[in-house]
């Protein structure tokens, strides 16, 4: 056991002490803080660039009354739009738009049925909020005009537009309420991303580590003093703990960033990080599935890493494994909209997909307990099988040198391991 901890400590510490690890973590933390304060930063930058100036729109009012009412309407809403009445012709105005003197111009008129007819001309079609703000304002005016025409009181109008009460009930045993589902979706989505990236990053880190030890031939010294199996699991655990530490750092900084966020803006992400309405069980499942997913793929990665003799070949060797993780993520992502799809249920019991897919289902649905337990059981068994198999391959693989970069070498490695 002593050697196990020495290797564990070594793989944890040397990696944690590297500059690249430190810098990556720092950049990520900085990114989290930046992201949390993004709205206020954009606001500030916008002010600095002087874009707080109102958008100028010239209006040609053929009806004679609409301009004033529109102005009034916009002032009520405090939109950053300044309107200006003009008598210029359409051609003159088009020129102004083209020369970017003005943002846009609009022609307003009533048609025969007293319906507002507006024609908005602009040089940039990308701008969406300005025309839609104008459209909303005009729509309100239209409603007032029509109500006047029909001699409806304000109450009558609001009654007319009263929204209906539409409640959804799902009597499927596994379903959560709509509200719960929306809350869960954000949480599950974020955690799914974390699991996905963590598994892909740390397992490829393991494969690279093993290949580096092999290519620098330090492996021969290592396995002459500690058994390859111990070495492999110490490595997997060491890098795993490193991953957990790194993720914790991110989580804490995320939490801090959103609680300290000066914008104070409440959105789903800040709600997630401020731990409001947090489903503890979802978080617990996230930890369980992260650990299982990590061990599953890390064991596989160590096995694959032991087969190559040059670090350059690592990526090629772990490609099939990476594709497997990506496939799991895609399957799980398709289920975010509808977690009750049939194939998700099947995929959640397939060991390599389970960490993401079962997590999605357990996070978004009220599953009977046996389902996640069965899935966890299947994964644990798979990890043990992989560990046992990996140890066999590893024993031979680490002694095998040469241009090995295909899975065909598995057989050779097992053969050598036996000898």
């Amino acid at each position: 056991m002593r050697e196990f901890w020495i290797i564990f400590k070594q793989s944890f510490l040397t990696k944690a002490k590297t500059k690249s690890f430190f810098i990556t973590t720092l950049i990520m933390v900085a990114g989290i803080f930046l992201f949390a304060n993004l709205p206020s930063i954009i606001d500030k930058v916008g002010k600095m660039m002087g874009s707080e100036e109102d958008d100028r729109v010239l209006v040609v009012d053929e009806s004679g009354v609409l301009f004033d009412r529109l102005l009034e309407q916009l002032q009520q809403n405090e939109q950053g739009i300044s309107l200006e009445l003009t008598e210029k012709t359409q051609d003159q105005l088009s020129e102004k738009v083209k020369s970017e003197e003005i943002e846009a111009f609009m022609e307003l008129s009533f048609d025969a049925e007293q319906t507002i007819h507006a024609s908005y001309t602009t040089g940039s079609l990308v701008e969406q909020s300005l025309p839609s703000a104008l459209q909303d304002a005009l729509q309100n005016i239209q409603t007032e005009v029509k109500a006047d025409q029909l001699a409806l009181s304000g109450e009558q109008v609001s009654e007319l537009f009263a929204p209906i009460q539409f409640e959804k009930h799902n009597i499927s045993e596994t379903a959560k309420s709509e509200e719960e589902l929306n809350q869960a979706r954000v949480l599950v989505y974020v955690l799914m991303f974390v699991i996905y990236f963590a598994v892909i990053i740390y397992s490829s880190m393991i494969a690279t580590e093993v290949a580096t030890e092999k290519s620098s031939r330090v492996m021969e010294i290592l396995i002459s003093s500690v058994s390859p199996v111990k070495h492999m699991f110490a490595k997997v655990l060491g890098i795993g703990s490193l991953g957990i530490v790194q993720i914790l750092v991110y989580a804490v900084s995320g939490f801090l960033a959103y609680t300290l966020s000066s914008a104070g803006e409440k959105n789903e992400l800040s709600a997630f990080f401020s731990l409001e309405n947090l489903e503890v069980s979802t978080l617990v499942y996230a930890v369980i599935f992260f650990l299982l997913g990590y061990f599953l793929y890390a064991t596989l990665a160590a096995l694959l890493g032991s087969l190559v003799s040059r670090t350059e070949d690592v990526q090629q060797m772990i490609m099939p494994m990476s594709l497997l993780i990506v496939a799991a993520f895609i399957i799980a992502a398709t289920g975010l909209g509808n977690p009750e799809l049939g194939y998700l249920k099947i995929a959640s019991f397939i060991p390599f997909f389970a960490p993401l897919v079962m997590f999605l289902r357990v996070g978004m649905l009220d599953l009977p307990l046996w389902e996640p337990l069965l899935s966890i059981g299947i994964m644990v068994v798979t990890i043990f099988i992989l560990g046992w198999f990996g140890a066999k391959v590893y024993r031979g693989g680490v002694l095998m040198y040469g241009p090995s970069r295909s899975l065909k070498d598995l057989k050779k490695a097992i053969q050598l391991g036996k000898e």
């Binding site: 040397t14 580096t212 620098s216 021969e220 010294i221 002459s224 003093s225 500690v226 000898e419």
Partner: protein
């Protein structure tokens, strides 16, 4: 006592890497292991270390089989340099020392002592990849003997070192042997083996061609070298019966002869032609034996 290999054979599929190898290294002696590339030296070492299991035969050390329990007693210098390129020298040595059962503080002081002895204390806190090949080799050697092993296995210890450092390392190894350790090492450099080893073995394609004490090996080889320096060409002398090879130079020639009788014939034949400046019968060098034996193996 000591390290003993009894009729050890290692097969990989159809390929026989080591064939019926037997050797015995007495405690406190140095054993040289000679062989061309691919002769099976590294495979033998790996079997001794327990990384590979022999297909047939037995390996024991002081009567025990070698396993991970005995690993703190063994030091190993692999042929290809094996160190973490990105780790600092001292950290690395402490780590490897700990793996061989040392306490951290003991590993540290031993590492510092050896770094000093090999005159590289300035590299203590450098990364291995920053060091020259020769200095890396020194670190590698320190990693092998840091924990004061009783059995030291050195695979090509002198490769990549300049003559000054070769001498320094030789001295360290001899001191190590004198303090009671058993040393097994392989080399292509015959002169090192000749200088350092009490016993040796030459293997080729997994087969043991020669083994035993250095003197016995030389005696039993039989052939001797005759060096003649004269002012006239010695080409004709090659045709004398019993002369196996000849190397001519400006000043004379070296003949390899089957035994001393031939050497005398050679002397008389030369004297008939004129005065000679030097005549000498030399013991065969290990190099000659190696080339002759391995050459036979090729044929």
């Amino acid at each position: 006592m000591a390290l003993e290999l009894e009729r050890v054979t290692k097969r990989f599929g159809d390929f026989t890497a080591v064939d019926q190898l037997s050797l015995k290294v007495e405690e406190g002696t140095m054993y040289g292991f000679l062989g061309a590339n691919g002769a099976g030296k590294t495979t033998t070492f790996r079997m001794i270390l327990g990384l590979l299991t022999p297909t047939e035969g037995n390996i024991s050390w002081n009567g025990r089989t070698i396993s991970y329990e005995t690993s703190p007693l063994i030091g190993y210098l692999p042929e290809e340099r094996g160190l973490y390129p990105k780790m600092k020298v001292l950290d690395q040595l402490i780590f490897l020392g700990q793996l061989r059962g040392m306490k951290k503080s003991a590993a540290k002081s031993a590492a510092l002592h050896w770094l000093d002895r090999f005159e590289v204390p300035q590299n203590t806190n450098k990364k291995v990849e920053e060091l020259s090949k020769g200095n890396q080799q020194k670190i590698q050697v320190i990693a092998a003997l840091l924990h004061d092993p009783q059995l030291l296995i050195l695979d090509e210890p002198f490769s990549g070192l300049d003559p000054v450092n070769v001498e320094m390392l030789k001295k360290a190894i001899v001191d190590f042997r004198n303090s009671g350790a058993t040393i097994l090492f392989s080399s292509h450099r015959m002169d090192h083996v000749e200088e350092l080893c009490e016993q040796l073995s030459i293997i080729h394609h997994g087969k043991q061609l020669v083994s035993g004490k250095l003197r016995d090996v030389k005696r039993s080889f039989g052939k001797q070298n005759v060096r003649i320096r004269a002012d006239f060409p010695l080409l004709e002398l090659e045709s004398i019966e019993g002369v196996t090879t000849a190397h001519h130079s400006l000043e004379g020639a070296v003949f390899q002869v089957e035994d001393e009788r031939v050497a005398h014939t050679l002397l008389q034949a030369t004297l008939q032609k004129g005065p000679i400046r030097q005549f000498e019968i030399e013991e065969p060098s290990l190099q000659d034996i190696f080339i002759a034996k391995v050459g036979e193996g090729h044929a």
